[in-house]
């Protein structure tokens, strides 16, 4: 107590008031004081030279990405900030920076029929094919818009959205503006307010980007517009949705100064029953790269979102040959089937089958001219079986075709690979578990065969240790060995690992992350609080 007695009177008074308020809270539990939420995330790597895997070795051998976020809402008002600190950025990140800054701040007011947000915000129209601003820290994307966004529900069946702003460009802003309008009509609510068994909705969107043009061409499009329409019908056990987006001409280095328009068509259908689900996605697009600045490439300043519609893999070897959507032109789709067979005493078998294939277009302006040039295909079947309360296994087979020249550029052989994978979890006590994974990728092309193994011990509720190895025994004879562990308590988690890492998605110790190629120590600390 002596510590603050010599504070100036005002401060002292304030401090006492705070204590009083804190005490008062115990007696007046019904008074709402709002909700404070925050998080901190630190991803730090210490690198060592490793010429064998061509690891990126930064000059000072340390990379650290740190994020602090605070959000507070009280009744209809919400405010928040995000602070980012790169000391400097981790190796392999899409940009290099040695700086800290408050990058996002917002104020939001929510009324009965509208919400207005000023400052930095995220938004998505439809599936994001026309507009998506989002954040993904692992891959280094944050294209939040800084400006104003308005959501307006004038009628129960009508949902309107408007956005106006400039995109975030690392620690700066793009020198362009993005404007968008979206309207969604729920026809099933036109006549009654009761939730119907079948929903039918139609959406219309308009997005435009203006970036000043100072070149000599009087007809050059400084403003690039996109028009989107979508419709969805969904019932208890089936749904069908269609989305079509047209984009005006937009000559850029990415599309080779193409002076024609771009188009995309996305169709999705699904059927579900008890213990069974089937999904079909078809997508065809051409000249569909849409960015905030004409010179932007890679992960920089996307306006829309064009993900690869394939199975997103969660193990080591299937993540070696991963497809990337080809915005210049592609057509294809995927089908998924999920079903389970209930066994005796909860001994369920769960099966997942996926088939995806993408091809080029024979006429670059016609999204229906599917060519014979295959870019990618993937067939996989996964069988997960619970054998007893303590044992369960996953067995999977993949057949992959990968056109490396198209996906990665350059001239390479096309790759055909087969993958076999076994994952087993043994729970030998109420809070003790052992997991192991063995897998092999067989191919005659590229780097040849790969084998991988993971062993992991879990000591719930807090600890986890693992050792893994990914071994290329076809061409390079390189072992990517890693060892590490984690400690989690409540919403705080600390993980540390040492070893070689190949670029890709890795899921160990309870979470999944994208990581770049490197050798050294990786330490991760994440924490969240909600009060």
């Amino acid at each position: 107590m002596k510590g603050y007695l010599h504070f100036p009177l005002r401060t002292n008074f304030l401090f006492c008031l705070l204590l009083l308020l804190a005490e008062g809270h115990a007696q007046l539990p019904n008074i709402s004081r709002g909700h404070l939420s925050g998080s901190f995330e630190s991803y730090t790597q210490f690198y060592q030279p490793d010429s064998k895997i061509n690891a990126i070795l930064p000059q000072d051998r340390v990379g650290s990405n740190n994020y602090l976020k605070l959000d507070y809402n009280y009744n209809r008002i919400a405010v928040g900030i995000q602070y980012e600190s790169y000391l400097p950025t981790v190796a392999g990140f899409p940009f290099t920076l040695n700086q800290s800054k408050i990058v996002n701040r917002y104020f939001r007011y929510t009324a009965d029929k509208f919400t207005i947000q000023v400052g930095d915000f995220y938004e998505q129209f439809g599936s994001g094919l026309i507009l998506r601003s989002w954040e993904n820290r692992q891959i280094g994307i944050n294209n939040a818009l800084e400006g104003v966004k308005l959501h307006f529900n004038p009628l129960p069946y009508l949902n309107l959205k408007g956005v106006y702003g400039r995109q975030r460009k690392i620690f700066d802003y793009a020198n362009s503006v993005v404007r968008g309008l979206d309207a969604e009509i729920d026809f099933s609510k036109l006549r009654s307010n009761i939730d119907p068994k079948t929903r039918f909705t139609v959406g219309l969107s308009y997005v435009s980007r203006y970036q000043q043009y100072t070149g000599p061409d009087p007809l050059f499009p400084a403003t690039v517009s996109a028009y989107g329409s979508r419709a969805e019908i969904s019932g208890k056990s089936a749904s069908l949705s269609l989305e079509y987006v047209y984009k005006t001409k937009d000559p850029t280095p990415v599309n080779g100064q193409d002076k024609t328009s771009g188009k995309a068509l996305l169709i999705n259908a699904s059927v579900t029953g008890k213990n069974i689900g089937l999904n079909l996605s078809l997508r065809s697009l051409e000249n569909f790269d849409y960015r905030g600045e004409r010179d932007a490439i890679g992960t920089q300043l996307p306006v829309n979102f064009v993900p690869a519609l394939t199975k997103q893999h969660d193990y080591l070897t299937p993540n070696i040959y991963v497809y990337n959507a080809q915005t210049a032109g592609e057509a294809g789709g995927q089908v998924d089937l999920f079903y389970n067979i209930k066994g005796k005493r909860n001994r369920t078998s769960r099966v997942a089958i996926n088939f995806a294939q993408y091809r080029g277009l024979s006429n670059k302006n016609d999204i229906f001219s599917i060519s014979s040039n295959k870019y990618f295909s993937d067939f996989s079947i996964e069988w997960k079986k619970k054998w007893s309360k303590s044992w369960n296994t996953t067995l999977a087979y993949h057949n992959v075709y990968y056109n490396k020249s198209v996906v990665e550029g350059g001239i390479h052989d096309n790759i055909s690979a087969n993958i076999l994978l076994l994952n087993a979890l043994y729970k030998y006590a109420k809070n003790r578990s052992f997991r192991f994974e063995v897998q092999n990728l067989f191919t005659k092309q590229d780097d040849g065969n790969w084998a991988a193994a993971v062993a992991e011990f879990g000591f719930a509720p807090a600890f986890n240790i693992y050792v893994n190895d990914l071994y290329n025994y076809g061409v390079t004879n390189i072992h990517y060995t890693g060892i590490g562990g984690s400690y989690a308590k409540g919403a705080t988690r600390f993980a540390i690992g040492y070893g070689r890492q190949r670029a890709g998605l890795i899921c160990v110790g309870g979470v999944c992350r994208f990581v770049p190629a490197a050798t050294g120590i990786t330490a991760t600390l994440t924490t969240t609080f909600n009060n």
Binding site: Y74, S239, A491
Partner: protein, 160 residues
């Protein structure tokens, strides 16, 4: 400087103690695509609500959900609670969510948060992430899943 210190104390010690209720009013969607308000679905008075953030591509999430699913009806007889499973699958995989959960035979209340509005509002870094809400307040959170973590969840659910 001292004012700053007090302000710091205010933020990190006192506001959390004062704060109650009013969970963020963020819109998420149910599996039919209908928008629902998070604060309304999580404000049940008589039953504890477990929110589980997961995705179709996250193996530890699926292991956790399967464990919870296999014990769900049995545990519900002991403790009044329900599980709201919020998928953070984005446009890449969101169309698989409904066929996936039906095909797995899971039995929770499902929602999607495809552009991560709710994930951001609750400051969730990684998945799986689980929360318990009682009377409109978040009383427990856990990030990551190690087999056996569900025991801690049930213990916390039983606590008054």
């Amino acid at each position: 400087m001292r004012n700053l210190l007090v302000l710091g104390l205010l933020t990190f010690a006192v506001i959390p103690a004062l704060s109650q209720n009013t969970l963020p009013d963020v819109k998420i969607r149910n599996l039919d695509g209908k928008e629902v308000s998070f604060s309304s679905i999580s404000s049940a008075k008589d039953t504890a609500i477990v929110i589980s953030f997961w995705a179709t591509w996250c193996v530890p999430c699926i292991t956790e959900m399967e464990t919870l699913n296999d014990q769900y009806s049995e545990k519900q007889k002991e403790i009044p609670f329900k599980i709201l499973a919020v998928s953070i699958d984005d446009a890449r995989t969101i169309s698989k969510v409904k066929p996936f959960v039906r095909g797995r035979g899971w039995d929770f209340d499902f929602y999607t948060d495809s552009n991560h509005d709710l994930k951001r509002a609750l400051n969730i870094n990684d998945i799986p992430h689980i929360l318990i809400i009682k009377n409109g307040s978040i009383v427990y959170q856990h990030t990551g899943y190690t087999p056996g973590n569900e025991e801690e969840l049930y213990t916390k659910l039983k606590m008054k």
